[in-house]
Amino acid sequence: MMDFWAISIEIAITVLLLLTLLVDLMLPKESDRRPVAFITVIGLVSVFVFSLGQYHLSPSETFYLGLFIADNYSLFFKQLFILGMIFVVLFSLEYTHKFIRYRGEFYSLLLSALLGMCVMASANDFITLFVGLELMTISFYILVGFRMDKAESSEAAVKYLLVGSGSTAVMLYGVSLIYGATGSLDFVTICRNIHLFYAAGLAGVVLIMAGFFFKLSAIPFHMWAPDVYEGAPTPITALLAMSSKAAGLAVFMRVLYVAFPILGTYWMTLLAVISALSMIGGNIMAMKQKDVKRMMAYSSIAQAGYMMAAMASADYAGIKAVMFYATLYLFANVGAFAVLSVVEEERGGTTHGHLTGLSEASPMLAAVMTISLVSMAGVPPTAGFAGKIYIFTAAVDYGYVWLAFVGFIMSMMSIYYYLLVVRAMYRDLEQKETECARSIAPPFSVRITALLSAAATLVVGVWPDFLAKATNFASQTFMR
């Protein structure tokens, strides 16, 4: 049965996408394309408010023979993506104005990437998964190369495209083997099929997981991430770090928990090992980075490792921990990248040197950056602490004590490189007379987003009750 209510969010985003394209065409040539940005933000806020009413206790609705499912789990992730996109569009208003040449298309492509993420979160079949994944990734290939004035941008885009399409091919090969073994591409049908234990089925599962590890840039599949994160425009780096990664995790979790639960003993171990490698490698390699965007790439590898540690527990507690952590990671990233985009705009770069003396130039930005980084490191009273508690509790409860141990040690070590940035902002003031003396007055939209994200980080850290209840509800009703 065709139930269009189930895909109402996607329809709304598609309409918004077409609207931005249309408005972009109608605006005069010399316009600065601000109206397009405002339409995007207003439209996304209304979609967000509208989607709040879609949480339900009744069985979830599906669309087109179960290809697409609109359950509370996918709804939560969709709201996360929409929220992230609103924040990114808001804080990048000035950045876009200064560095991006084709701004109208920029907003349309952001919306198409968002549409892809939403489709991925709801995918209940490998066809839907594939279409959503590619819609998101192809939009990101273009967005990464969107800075016409910088040769690094196109270089990053080419690297992303080659690695991304190669990993898509690997994943698809796995999907074709699964299809051969089980005769279906539907998650629910696959999970009942005993042929998964044949060589073709096992090889298929491993190839699909390898494809996902590439997309999540887990070690040892991470080589592309630092280059792409550094070369991409800063708002796009923020999206790659939070939304794209969360979308990948959302669908990865659904594939593992719904399609391959009977192979649990195989993939849980694999996931735990890759997660430990990502936590160790990501945190150690982040230490020697001078460029903060590049450091955030390695830090995001480590964060993906934490979230995969929770996934390895293969239980509702794990789902809940991942959802909780993805939310607070989004807030922390929005704060950090809002500051970084202003710094890049004003001082022309994002290395430690460019951040020197930020506490003098703009105390507000320095404070927001500090709160965000401390939250990523997991220090109380920020939200990162609560999130790591949930993750490591889930891991310990289901037998991965060693994994939780690795995670503890690595998150302690991560404080070092996060605080290096804080030190640059607050302590290294001797070069104050040179180029860093000029004070920075961030525009209003940046101020709003930065303050909101910092406030959210602190509120969730002190009072995690509400978010915990929401994620609990969404994870308990997973697959119902």
């Binding site: 690094e152 690997v170 698809l172 999907v175 074709s176 005769g183």
Partner: protein
Amino acid sequence: MMSFIEFMQLATHVGLHHFLLFSAILFAIGLFGLLTKKGLIPLLMCVELMLNAVNINLVAFNHYMPVPDYTGQLMAIFSVAVAASEIAVGVALAFRIYRDRGTVNVDELEKLKG
């Protein structure tokens, strides 16, 4: 000991295994090229080889399914369409790279390092 005729019959009768072997070889060639080639256009061709290996797999599995359905062919059509758009973006980026640096050799892309 099988006769020559029997051997020829076995060798020329095309079954599922032949398709799978063919697509696996195609995929391996593509992957090898992706890891060794230098030019951007040959790299895109290698990606295309890998994706087409997947299509052959899907269609062959679909053909030899005991129960008739069209899921595999459907997926192959989606995959063809997506591969085309991926290559379109790739070629556009190749133009961009050529304009920025005057070469499409990916080994010379080394501005981002660290």
